[in-house]
Amino acid sequence: MHVLSFTRSTPDTAAKVWVDEAGEVAWGDVASVVNPWDEYALEESIVQATKSAGEATVIAIGPAIHDDALKHSIAMGITNALRIDEPKADIRDSLVWSALAAGAIKKLGNVELIIFGKESVDVATDQHTYQLARRLGWTMLSFVSDIIALDAVAGTIRVEQTLEQGKRVLSARLPSVVSVLKGINEPRYPNFLGIRKAAKAQIPVWSAADMGVEAPVAATSILAYHNPAPRVVATEIITGKDAAEKAANLAERLFEEKVL
């Protein structure tokens, strides 16, 4: 089976991120990493492609900075990587993003399963995953904590979904779009051979015209980024002769704050 996933480079989650004087988001010279949610999707793609004796492809949409994430994916064991770069398209809008992504899936032709990480940690949304499924008319299986069975011959998939209400099992026909949660697997570290393969990899770049699609005009636009109001906190250290007295004094304060 041809399994596909998407990835992107994002600042390391430990990085300090701020809005600089030019109004752009900055994170200094901290390295970019694979969007942490995507590591679970990439691992699951490799596992499912291997099980079904198929291939695993990864796509990033955007400028060359995302090649880092693609190379990491190859180093992990993803078979093919490609990048979509359409300078005229504002891919920050999810309608535009999903139109380009759908174009790539149609051009590839034989993809039957798309695996996403739960969300992109930078823009902090998952809307593009649902919108791609809807554009393709494929079944969306979200918040998946286990792929229980994938049958390429019968064209079926069974997954465990974890929602606010609890866990349950879903069955559907392929093709499907799946978004996976942390904990579905243990993402592998790239080995030496993988890293060497990734270093040598030439990553093809497709434009909208290459896929025969016209990117829609962005429906939304970003007006500005702001640094959140700094938390001016004068920390009061609660004192007391022992733990019991400290706890009693803290309880007193919490009542005064009217948060109980």
């Binding site: 989650t13 430990a14 649902y130 609890g166």
Partner: protein, 345 residues
């Protein structure tokens, strides 16, 4: 140009966070001089629509079709899309729950409408929507607008305040039909198991959270744990017998740092932080959490933060309103006891 608000329901009951979305929708409608319509699909839709009237909806579109009694993404999307196409609302809102997010995103594709997710503030500037939402896990905020006739918006839980319920308010209900049948449902779902009885983290008014410090449990590890990591046993015991009782006194949800989750002390569902849940309760009590930047990103929106940590130099104290420097295994049980006395529970 009315405003639509999808009222999420489960097992015939409304998700109370939907009333927050309804209040956000109502305030937009007031500025537009228009009305709010609640969209309620599934089991018990008529009663939930009446309840929505009490929370500010003037109108409601309901579908009680048997095939759709339970939430089903494709079918609900079709219903929403048909209503949006027929009535051309200016905005469609829902709370940004798992289902709210996927439903609105899907219907936005059908109508090629702009979608703004996880808004924390909404205003209108000469009729144009300006939404504030967090990015980079709250490390920065962004302001967005949308240029389409209809704009879909999911709102962050607890970012907007629900209206006080007016049980005398009336709502005008319109029933909508669908030709969906059980055969059209693409996904076959088994019933939920391991139902979560805990307080939901993102809805919680109070969160008691634990970190790596939970491994410093003074309890003696039983000899029968075999090859298992004694620290994991200690921390699990700490969550169960030290943090949970405090959470029980307060009616709080239990959270955890990534370090605690990665070490296997507690299930991932409890993780607060950039790769876990982003929370904004009234009170966040961090126990044995040092306060790594990616954890701070997940909880810095809390109204009052309390840190309990042995290490006076832990970064969490810089963020906390109240700090207790001490052993959580002494302070937390004492706090539970003190609160139990005060709250009389």
């Amino acid at each position: 140009m009315s405003v639509f608000v999808w009222i999420e329901s489960y097992a015939g009951r409304a998700n109370p966070a939907s009333w927050e979305a309804l209040a956000a929708g109502k305030s937009l409608a007031d500025k537009l001089g228009s009305d709010v319509a609640a969209l309620v699909f599934g089991e018990n839709a008529r009663a939930i629509a009446a309840e929505a009237g009490g929370f500010g909806a003037e109108n409601a579109f309901i579908c009680e079709d048997e095939a759709l009694s339970e939430y089903q993404l494709e079918a609900y999307t079709q219903l929403m899309t048909d209503l949006v196409k027929a009535h051309q609302p200016a905005f469609v809102l829902a709370v940004g729950s798992n289902r709210g997010r996927e439903l609105l995103a899907s219907s936005a594709v059908d109508t090629e409408s702009g979608l703004i997710a996880e808004a924390t503030e909404l205003r209108l500037d000469r009729g144009k929507i300006i939404a504030t939402r967090p990015a980079y896990a709250g490390k920065v905020a962004m302001e967005m607008t949308s240029n389409t006739a209809t704009t879909f918006i999911t709102v962050r839980g607890r970012a907007f305040q629900a209206a006080a319920k007016d049980s005398h308010a009336s709502v005008s209900i319109t029933e909508v039909q669908t030709d969906w049948t059980m055969q059209d449902i693409a996904v076959e779902a088994e019933p939920f198991r391991d139902a979560v009885h805990d307080v939901n983290l993102t809805d919680a008014a109070i969160i008691v959270s634990g970190g790596r410090g939970l491994a410093n449990n003074p309890k003696k590890v039983p000899s029968d744990i075999g090859a298992a990591d004694p620290n994991v046993w200690k921390a699990k015991d700490g969550f169960k017998h030290t943090l949970r009782p405090l959470a029980a006194v307060l009616g709080a949800a239990v959270g955890a740092s990534r370090a605690a989750v990665d070490a296997g002390y507690i299930a991932y569902e409890h993780q607060v932080g950039q790769t876990g849940k982003i929370v904004n309760p009234d009170l966040y009590i961090a126990c044995g959490i040092s306060g790594a930047i990616q954890h701070q990103a997940g909880m810095r929106g809390s109204k009052i933060i309390v840190a309990i940590n042995k290490d006076a130099a832990a970064p969490i104290f810089k963020l906390a309103h109240y700090g207790v420097v001490g052993d959580l295994y002494e302070v937390v049980p004492a706090l539970s006891a003190a609160l139990r006395r005060k709250l009389g529970s």
